[in-house]
Structures are given as C-alpha cells and as structure tokens.
C-alpha cells in the first residue's frame, strides 16, 4: 500500500487540503498531523464572539468528526512534527516515531510574534492564536480591571471592542502613527480610530513599550517608551505573527518570510505542497509574491494544493478578501489597498454604512466596506473579472455597479 499523503498542520488549510485532495480524486491514505489536541476549528471567533460566549465551543469545529471518517482522513492530534527527511520521505514526531509519506503538505500556519521585553512572561500577559489562548483570555477577561493591548492590528482591535463593550477600560499601544498600518488604508484606520475612541478605548499611537512590570509574578503595568506607566492586570500582545517555516527550512525547502510556493502550491520539492498563512506565493492579482494571513487565502490556496496532489492543475488566482467585526461594524475588505493612488467613497461615513473604492492608475484595486456587504460581494466579482468603475461612478450611488458585472 502507498504511504499516501501526510498533512502537517491543523487549521483551515490542513482541513481543506485533505478535503480538496479527496474531492479531486486522491485515493491514497491521508493522515493529518496537528500539534493541537482538537480537530481544525474556526479561529476568527476567538477574538470576537467566543470571548463573550455568543459563539459556543460546539460551533467551532470546521468539520465534524464524521467528515474525516467518511473521507478516510486519519487525524493524529496533539502530535508535533519535529523534522522532515525529504529524501527518505519521513516526518519525525516529537513524541518519537515517524510517518512515511509519498506526498507531503505543509500547512503549519503562524505563531504570534513575541515581544522580547522584560516582563513579557508575567502571569496575565497573553497572546491570542489558538483555542487554548482564547480560553485563557476568556477566563481572565471577566475579572480584568484594566486592559492594555499592545498592537493596533485586527486582533488587538477586535479584543478591544469586546472588552470595551463589556465596560472594561482599554488602552491600545501602537508603535506606528496609525492603526492597522499594514492592513488597511489611512481612511479606514482613521474611521476605526474614531469608533474606538467614541467607545472609550484610549489609543496611544507612535508609542512603544519599554517593559512590562508586575509583582509576585502577576502583571501590574505597562511602561511606555516615554516613561508613562499604564496600569494593567491583563495585557494582550498582538503585534503580528511569524510564519512557522522552521520545519520546512531545516529540510531545505526555500523560505523567505514564508514557505515559497508556486501558483500550484508546490514548494521547491515537487513532492511537497504548502498552503495558508505560512506560504509566500505568487499573487496573480497583485503581480508579486505575497504572504497573506486570512481564511480566504488558507481555503483557496488549499483547494489548489489539493488539486495538485490529485494530479490536476488549478492555479491559485483568487482575489484576496478579509473581514473583521468590531462593535456593530462589519468590515469587509477585498483586493489589496497598498499602492493605490486615489479613492472614492460610496455611502455615508456618518451613518457608518459606506465603502471606499481604491484605484491605481484609474483601475479598481480594492474596496473596503463597512456595513455594506453588497458592495463587498460585487467588488469580489469586479476584481475577479478585472472590471473597474470610474471613481465618479463608484462615488455615485445612483450608478448601478451591477451593470459592470453584467456587461
């Protein structure tokens, strides 16, 4: 019998590689090795509804146990892949033992970027990536007196919106001059900053952290670069992520801030595919190599990887999209705003129902929508088709953008 496929990873991409490989006709054994003790689960709710209890643990698994059983996907949970021997086609496990493979899929994801400062290891200083992280955070959140969030990215802002809605005092400390400097436009960042301030969240922009202090091993405060001390009995460090490429790198696969893959999700070894947050891939949409951290990227790239494993060619060409829920705002983003030179607003910022269309050299490159999901959905179609309204048409609500899709 063939040794089949071994998938290293336990989240969206790992699940979807297995599902898509089977769908595309891959008939050999599939084994999914995940460091986490549970089946692949939703991560986005961990910084939102899961913390408030609105999203129950039962709703977290991406697929039920029956899915893995019916598709003959063996899951090895709570097992960490320690090293790869590509020549011998074996994965060694941390607990001893190894798995033989014919094909290998790496979906190792990312881990929170550490903050190498004194006090970062104090009790009450948390990160948020896994379900275990979320459980720790949820346990502490209810009783927290004052919260400092280090990092003004999506995770930090989502946690801040949950905590502020619970009536907790929250300070966000961000080193850049604005929120979400890496992910969204200055216009959306300014809008979200206003929303957070209006909910009582204090924003300290252009502010670094010097150290984190505590007593008896428990966190008590965060000291900023300018010397100001912020009281905190709960600190979330949310300053981005680092791709988990060590396993691949040590085995000789090309990595450059991400495991390098081609548009068929193949690594530099023809037997090995990779997908998800851990990869750096050629983006047909952006015309450059990208590493994306999103559910969309994980799922769509994994569909490509699954097809590749089954001997089919299904290039990864999706338009990137993302979402974030903060307070009652539904923020949906499609395309990539970086490099845009012009924008047009459709709808009303005051009413918190608008979309910003971004253009580069007159062509649509991205749309950020707040409580305007229809624009977002339409944007996905427009960008996939390579069609573009003019900035005037985008700003004019009497112009029906659907006509551009139908044309």
């Amino acid at each position: 019998m063939s040794a089949g496929l071994v998938i290293v990873g336990g989240s969206y991409a790992a699940m979807q590689i297995a599902a898509s490989a089977r769908e595309a006709g891959y008939a050999e054994p599939i084994r999914l090795v995940s460091e986490e003790p549970v089946l692949p689960y939703q991560r986005p709710p961990l910084s939102k509804g899961y913390l408030t209890g609105k999203f129950t643990p039962a709703a977290l698994p991406l697929r039920a146990e029956a899915f893995y059983r019916d598709n003959r996907i063996e899951t090895l949970l709570g097992q960490r892949a320690e090293s790869l021997d590509l020549a011998a086609r074996r994965v060694s496990l941390a607990g001893g033992g190894s798995l033989a493979f014919d094909r290998l899929a790496l979906a190792t994801g990312t881990r929170p970027r550490p903050l190498p400062l004194p006090g970062a290891d104090l009790d009450g200083v948390l990160f948020l990536r896994s379900l275990a992280d979320a459980d720790r955070l949820r346990e502490r959140l209810g009783g927290a007196g004052s919260i400092v969030v280090i990092g003004g990215g999506f995770i930090g802002l989502e946690l801040a919106s949950v905590a502020a809605a619970m009536g907790k005092p929250v300070v966000i400390v961000e080193a850049q001059e604005r929120l979400l400097a890496r992910g969204v436009s200055p216009q959306i960042a300014a809008f979200l900053a206003d929303v957070h301030r209006s909910r009582g969240v204090a924003l300290r922009l252009r502010s670094t952290v010097r150290d984190i202090r505590g007593a008896n091993g428990r966190v008590q405060s965060v000291v900023c670069g300018d010397g100001e001390t912020l009281a905190a009995d709960l600190v979330l460090i949310a300053i981005g992520v680092v791709p988990n490429t060590e396993l691949a790198g040590r085995a000789g696969l090309a990595c450059q801030d991400g495991l390098v893959v081609d548009r068929f999700a193949r690594t530099t070894d023809p037997l090995v595919v990779a997908a998800g947050d851990c990869t750096r891939h050629p983006s047909a949409f952006a015309g450059q190599l990208l590493r994306l951290e999103s559910v969309q990227n994980a799922i769509d790239q994994a569909k490509t990887a699954g097809a590749t494993l089954a001997g089919q060619e299904k290039p990864y060409e999706s338009v990137p999209w993302f979402w974030s829920d903060q307070y009652e705002l539904k923020l949906q983003m499609v395309g990539l705003v970086q490099g845009s030179d012009r924008h047009a607003v459709r709808g009303s910022l005051e009413q918190r129902r608008f979309s910003i269309f971004y253009f580069r050299s007159g062509r649509l490159v991205a749309i950020d929508s707040v409580n305007r999901a229809a624009d977002h959905m339409l944007g996905r179609k427009l960008l996939a088709l390579g069609r573009s309204p003019t900035p005037q048409q985008a700003a004019d609500e009497s112009f029906d953008l659907q006509t551009l899709v139908a044309a």
Binding site: Q42, P44, P45, K48, G49, F55, A58, A59, L60, P61, L62, R63, A64, A66, F67, D70, V295, Q296, I299, D300, W323, D325, K330, Q332, N371, R372, A373, A374, H376, M377, L378, R380, K381, A384
Partner: protein
C-alpha cells in the same frame, strides 16, 4: 428536536435533527452534510452557506435582515427569491421539517 431536510446537489435528501437555536448552517456542518462551506463560520461575511428554502416554508422562516440581504446579492450560484444564508436561519420547533436545497456552488 426539529429536523432539517437538506436536498443535496445530486438530488438526494439528508434528514438531520438540529437543536432549537442552532443554525441550519451549523446543523449541516456538524452532521457532515456536503455543499455548505461556511467559510466565515456563521458571522454573515462570506455567503458560502447559501441555500434555497422550499416554498412550503417560505412564510415560516423570518425574512433576511439587511446584512444578509446585502450578502445574498453576491452568492456564487443563482440568487432566487427563496435564497437564504443558512447561518442566519435559527431552528425552532415551528420549523420542524424545514427543507432546504443546496446550490451547485458556493464560491466564485
């Protein structure tokens, strides 16, 4: 416990008990009913849990809110008057036997 009948792409039916308060989407995921992808996990962001509600139940299911209605404008399969996002339909005793048809595709 009320039941949902999912009509799959191949026309076959799967009858599944779904607890009151649980969404039709989650009922499908938890029971391994294929064809409902639910990429966003039910937060009404992705439109990959599209179903067609059988006309007999049209009046029993509360209508979509603005955000669902907005998303429905962008579903991958044909949007019909009975199109719904299954993550937004919460099961009740009155919906026992709710029959939903799964469209041929969920993503573009």
């Amino acid at each position: 416990m009320p039941a949902v009948v999912y009509v799959l792409k191949d026309g076959s039916e799967r009858r599944v008990d779904v607890p009151e308060g649980t969404s039709v989407m989650l009922g499908a995921i938890q029971n391994n009913v294929p064809g409902i992808e639910a990429e966003c996990g039910g937060c009404c962001s992705c439109a990959t849990c599209h179903v067609y509600v059988e006309p007999a139940f049209a009046d029993k299911v509360p209508p979509p809110d603005l955000s669902e209605s907005d998303l429905l404008s962008g579903v991958a399969a044909e949007r019909k008057p009975n199109s719904r996002l299954s993550c937004q339909i919460s099961m009740t005793a009155a919906l026992d036997g709710l029959t939903v048809r799964i469209p041929d595709k969920q993503s573009l």
